[in-house]
């Protein structure tokens, strides 16, 4: 009883509090995910030869959705200043490619899992967390998007999959590498990774 009452109450509060405010970040992610699904389900792009076209379309959406600058800075944190401006530029670029390639391939394997967005938390005025989950036949995978408002646009700067924050995961890796090596070595590792993919 309690469980059924709560969503209703939340719904009522949302409805009463006016349409604009609360739902913006959630709508942003939801709309993006819908765009992704539209591309994936597009019957015109069904055959395997369209894989590249699909990737190209997804890449555009991905750039709209993620704030790669925020992502890079948060993974490097205090190491950011060890990089020269030139290296920073290259890092952001390489890191984006690494992420893109890894996740594009994964997204392309998507079959008909259900994606549900169920909660939005405004953490501060310009940061929000959207909780969603992917439901497959054997399990549910919780995926949280952390979003930041920049220039009037909500963009994702961290993804938390099954309680593991991507930003933090990369941060630990980069920290470890930079405590034993130089930024140039890190960039070299990234270059190799991008090439190998």
């Amino acid at each position: 009883m309690k469980k059924r009452g709560a969503p209703l109450l939340i719904l009522i509060i949302f409805v009463l509090s006016g349409p604009a405010y609360a739902g913006v970040p959630m709508n942003a992610v939801e709309a993006t995910v819908k765009r992704v699904l539209d591309v994936l389900r597009d019957p015109k792009l069904k055959n395997p030869s369209a894989r590249e076209t699909k990737k190209e379309k997804l890449r555009v959406i991905y750039r709209d959705m993620f704030d790669e600058m925020e992502f890079s800075r948060r993974t490097l944190t205090r190491n950011w200043n060890k990089f020269s401006p030139q290296q920073r530029k290259e890092f952001v670029n390489l890191f984006e490619q690494v992420l893109e390639k890894t996740y594009l391939d994964k997204i392309l394997d998507y079959s008909d899992e259900k994606i549900v967005f169920y909660k939005e938390t405004m953490v501060t005025e310009n940061k929000a967390e959207i909780e969603s989950k992917i439901i497959t036949s054997s399990k549910e995978i919780p995926i949280f998007y952390r979003m930041i408002l920049k220039d009037g646009q909500w963009k994702v700067y961290d993804v938390v999959v099954e309680n593991v924050s991507l930003v933090q995961n990369y941060r630990t890796q980069f920290n470890e590498m930079l405590s034993n090596g130089t930024p140039e070595q890190l960039l070299e590792t990234l270059r190799k990774k991008v090439k190998a993919q």
Binding site: T77, N81, V98, T102, K127, E162, N163, T172, F174, M177
Partner: protein
């Protein structure tokens, strides 16, 4: 055999106890800094933006790559603690990581893939449910020890319903919408975490994978509370456990590969994922506990913060 086991367990408990001892001190030292930093960050942010925009109004692109004055990276409003774990036996762990990696790609994965071809998914999910139902004693005891009585009750309800109406646990009718009795994802390692015992250090066990002295308790506890281990003779119980591993792997092929593929240093990535995952589990369990619910605010678990190297 029994004496060895108890020796191992007491070693684990001792080592976990020793390692976590200095942690609370560092927590206390760090907390004031953590508390003050968000404000400081906000102030620098506020001061920053107008100054820059007046300097270079039309060159916002290059501006992004400027030096970061915000060196305290703690402007994360999600109250995330920086989680790290000591790794004093890294060479051993890396060797074990590579061993497990090879075991997965050369043995477990091919077998699981073959099995996946033959057995349809609903059947494999049922097998998973069956074994998960047998995990009831361990979860029930953990819930009780954590003073999470509603969790313990949920587990009893689930076990009864799934065993009787779920054909011996093959189905999971109690998780559906009407009953909504969800599996309590808990174990003995988390119980110790709820009590405030720290991780200690990172260990990669052959076959079992990432762990810590504290979480190794889970393995030892499982040995006593998991019915399949009581199957006689010993090779039968090993066989059953191996089958369970193959079955659950068959439902998760690709997960490890994608984690590894996304990582720059897979070993460090695994270690971090493990520690983040466990820490949040313990936090979630703590929130459910009747006794330890409020202790989290003024006395964070010993593993929530460890100074970085």
């Amino acid at each position: 055999m029994k004496t060895y086991l108890s020796l191992i367990i007491s070693f684990i408990i001792l080592s976990a106890g020793c390692v976590c001892a200095p942690c609370p001190a560092s927590v206390l030292m760090q907390t004031p800094a953590d508390v003050s930093s968000p404000q400081a960050v906000l102030m620098t942010d506020a001061g920053d933006t107008p100054a820059q925009s007046s300097k270079q109004p039309d060159d916002a692109g290059a501006d992004e790559y400027r030096d970061d004055e915000n060196l305290d990276d703690d402007d994360d409003p999600f109250g995330e603690e920086r989680v790290t774990i000591a790794d004093p036996i890294e060479p051993f762990n890396r060797a074990m990581y590579h061993f497990n990696d090879k075991m997965y790609f050369w043995m477990l994965k091919p077998v699981a893939q073959g099995y996946k071809e033959v057995v349809p998914e609903p059947a494999r999910v049922s097998v998973k449910n069956f074994f998960s139902n047998l995990g009831f004693p361990a979860r029930f005891v953990s819930c009780l020890l954590q003073a999470d009585f509603s969790g313990a009750a949920t587990e009893v309800g689930r076990f009864t319903i799934n065993t009787v109406w779920g054909i011996g646990g093959l189905l999971d009718p109690s998780a559906n919408k009407e009953l909504d009795l969800q599996k309590q994802n808990t174990d003995l390692g988390q119980t110790l975490g709820v009590y405030g015992v720290g991780h200690g250090f990172y260990i990669v066990w052959p076959f079992f994978g990432p762990s810590s002295p504290r979480d190794s308790i889970t393995m030892a506890g499982d040995y006593f509370l998991y019915p399949p281990w009581y199957v006689q003779p010993w090779y039968a119980s090993t066989g059953v456990t191996a089958y369970e591993a193959v079955n659950s792997t068959s439902l998760r092929i690709g997960e490890y590969e994608s984690l590894k593929g996304a990582a720059i240093d897979p070993y460090v990535s695994m270690r971090d994922a493990y520690i983040q995952y466990r820490m949040k589990d313990v936090k979630a369990r703590k929130a459910r506990s009747v006794l330890f619910k409020n202790s989290g605010a003024n006395n964070p678990a010993a593993d929530t913060f460890q100074p970085e190297k």
